[in-house]
Symmetry: C2
Subunit: 471 residues, 2 copies
């Protein structure tokens, strides 16, 4: 009988699971080790990232630049920062594109003798024009790269629907590298297809997962390019279409109703606290407030927004007083134009500001694995050793300090010759959700999210206390 047997195994189990321990190494000193422990404890007990993110991703939801959701997100984060101890919260105007998806989106195979009429899971790409109510019907040609397309005879592309189907490389441990190796098809493919005379373009969704979920994202046309409709189809749909094309010519019917309207005015939201000792040295944390319209933008980039706010709020709640000037920036329009980032950098440069450090979170709300450090090459080489001295304090929490930092919204600040950092969470799940309808709060784990803010808090603390010149 079990209740007579093996009491020991229970005790033994407990001894196993409690036997590993965190032993923070001491670099700058014990004070820092203790303070960073306080940051982590506070973040895991009192962090508000998850509550804020729930409001942003679920109550507000999708918030593409120019949309009512984006306006609501501006107002909401302004309120949150005002309530959370930022001395000044301001709205910085910027112009943003105003792309609207429209209602119906259809992609279907209409001529197959083998499988009949089949609807493919599809979503329009940002900047796509609409087909209009009559749709576009065209023969499909499949290519695996931009180069393969450009080597075709334009006569063979004319009036066709070009299908870009190169998968993301599943063997890349860092999934952002796999994305980087495939996303030229989405970003530039439709413009190239247009230049060859295509009627429309479709792109395999940017994920290594085999599923029925289409991933949107921006496509970019150059000045003077003929604009064409462009959609992403799910990976399962892409595989089905590709397999079918080995047996028969396939005709697709595409219909969408996207529209690129006149540019609109929108805003970055900026919370600021002046530094008591070195007010001219700015430490920026930021994420982007806009998100694709089809989901809640929970990981991309609601997480980065709430990480940024919480990273500074935690320090304020712990009674830390900034020596340097802190800015928390909710950048507008990262997804389809960088209007906010460019406006921010332009004004900052015009004022002759110096961003000693800028930290961007735009890689999801998963367990933080690293803070990547970058900047101008010579600045990086000069300043990295001082920052690297902190690594043991962060690695105690599973966060490495690695080269390779920066981010789309902060890179325009590189010329100010400070350091640029990027939070690097575990990336394995990121492209399950990126730019989809399932990028919602359910995909976010509260502890993982708060730990991201804790990692950023710890870095802000060290940067503020020590600067980057190895004091």
């Amino acid at each position: 009988m079990i209740h007579k047997l093996h009491y020991c195994y229970f005790v033994l189990l407990i001894s196993v699971i409690t036997s590993s321990s965190i032993a923070p190494c001491i670099a700058q000193g014990n004070d820092d080790v203790f303070f960073i422990k306080n940051i982590y404890d506070h973040s895991l007990q009192n962090g508000q990232c998850y509550q804020w993110l729930t409001h942003l991703s679920e109550d507000i939801g999708g918030r593409l630049a120019g949309s009512p959701g984006a306006a609501a997100a501006v107002e909401y984060t302004k309120q949150v920062m005002s309530e959370q101890g930022f001395a000044a919260v301001s709205l910085q105007p910027c112009m943003v594109p105003h792309w609207v998806r429209g209602d119906t989106e259809v992609a279907k195979i209409v001529n197959s003798e083998r499988i009949g009429t089949i609807t493919l899971a599809a979503t329009s790409l940002g900047n796509s024009i609409g087909t209009g109510p009559g749709g576009i019907t065209g023969r499909v040609i499949e290519v695996m790269s931009l180069d393969e397309l450009m080597e075709l005879d334009p006569a063979d592309v004319d009036g066709k629907i070009v299908f870009f189907n190169r998968p993301m490389d599943p063997t890349q441990l860092h999934t952002f590298r796999a994305y980087g190796g495939a996303v030229d098809q989405r970003g530039s493919g439709p413009a190239k297809a247009s230049s060859m005379g295509a009627a429309a373009a479709i792109v395999r969704s940017m994920t290594t997962r085999a599923d029925d979920i289409p991933h949107t994202g921006v496509t970019v046309f150059g000045e003077g390019d003929r604009l064409i409709p462009a959609m992403a189809i799910s990976t399962n749909a892409a595989d089905q279409l590709s397999a079918l094309m080995k047996h028969e010519d396939v005709t697709l019917y595409l219909e969408n109703h996207c529209e690129l309207k006149a540019d609109k005015k929108s805003y970055n939201v900026i919370g600021e606290i002046k530094g008591s000792k070195y007010p001219e040295e700015i430490i920026l944390v930021g994420g982007h407030l806009d998100s694709w319209d089809i989901g809640g933008g929970a990981h991309d980039d609601g997480s980065g927004c709430v990480h940024s706010i919480q990273s500074m709020v935690t320090l304020l709640e712990l009674g830390y007083e900034p020596q340097r000037t802190w800015r928390c920036v909710m950048f507008m329009n990262e997804e389809n134009g960088l209007g906010g980032a460019l406006a921010y950098a332009a004004e900052s440069n015009q004022k002759g500001e110096y961003h000693m450090a800028a930290i961007e979170s735009d890689a999801g709300g998963f367990t933080p694995r690293a803070l990547a450090v970058g900047g101008d090459k010579d600045i990086f080489e000069q300043k990295f050793p001082a920052v690297r001295a902190w690594r043991d304090m962060l690695s105690s929490y599973g966060v490495e300090l690695t080269p390779g930092g920066g981010g789309a919204d902060i890179n325009p600040l590189k010329s100010q010759r400070g350091l640029l950092f990027g939070l690097r969470p575990d990336s394995q799940r990121y492209f399950d959700y990126h730019h989809t309808a399932i990028d919602r709060i359910e995909a976010v784990n509260q502890r993982e999210l708060e730990l991201g803010a804790a990692a950023m808090s710890s870095l802000v603390y060290l940067l503020d206390k020590y600067g980057i010149d190895g004091e």
Copy 2:
């Protein structure tokens, strides 16, 4: 207009996301670096963990020792191992308890003036007896620890329902440590309550998450103890009950129909390949095949089972020929008795075997963060340096080699004086699912799962090639 502007930002974005790289360090040599890269590539492209786990957790589902599910899991994993190149697959008999949950489980507040009759989300603990159809109605007393209970006057406990409500510590970075700090309430609380005369016991679920999901798990009674019904209630229910008790005395009605039947015969499933050069040196990989009945046991411990199988299958598929003897063991009855582990160790010791290394995976299918190393103290001190020499090859893949290894199923092999390893995946999400109805395949990410197997494969390869004596 966006299509005229900022083509640059897209290019810039790509350069950011591709700028970090994996640079494996060279320890034992380039051959090993390349081979481990092959292991990872193969695992991410051809790994079958996810498919096997889907069958185990969804088609078979819950598989508590003695249940039909457990028997099906024995048969299924025997088939898989037989088809995947293990030279011999055998069933090793072991005796296991046969605890059956029964149908209805009810926990409700029945006397509240403030909130009326409220049902609490509850699940019986393994080894609980049933209340019988009449249920148990009793006043609740709340305690935060076993010590607090034992200091009470037994007269005040007599006939009551003891409510253990100490939360897991959310500030523990490693959630298994938080579990270790709270689970004595579940493991030993009901027996202590019984010894004080209680009619029944309820326990706050073992998770840091605030939700409505009750977590089951084993409770242990000592020989001669009076057996009482014991349940876990969800963390939200525990908070609600505790808050209510600040205002009024609370009476609960509990009903369940659990039954502890006669012990049954079950099996460990063992796949083996004899070593060509050192057949007497055994390398074991293993997880436990049984799981709690209320969910699919996807993370606990279906993941460990498929990790173990795949870790050896990958090497075989890459053409690697074992020099040492490999065993892949699906242990039966880890959850409520360790019948399988004890039978395995007993037979192994009786035969005078030497397990040079045993690797257990029983901490979920999340991104692997470490392989923890343990064993007898002197053996660990003697052998760890040889193993530690491999660390750069593993840390290139985000896997640390840390002290603290072992696991409930392999610890009985410690006396053979080999090394004991435990796979340590990221632990933040684990206790969202542990011992619940939502421990299902949806909670598992395919890439994270396959990476766990790749980490174990890499270690098996290095152990087989070099042993642990620093050749």
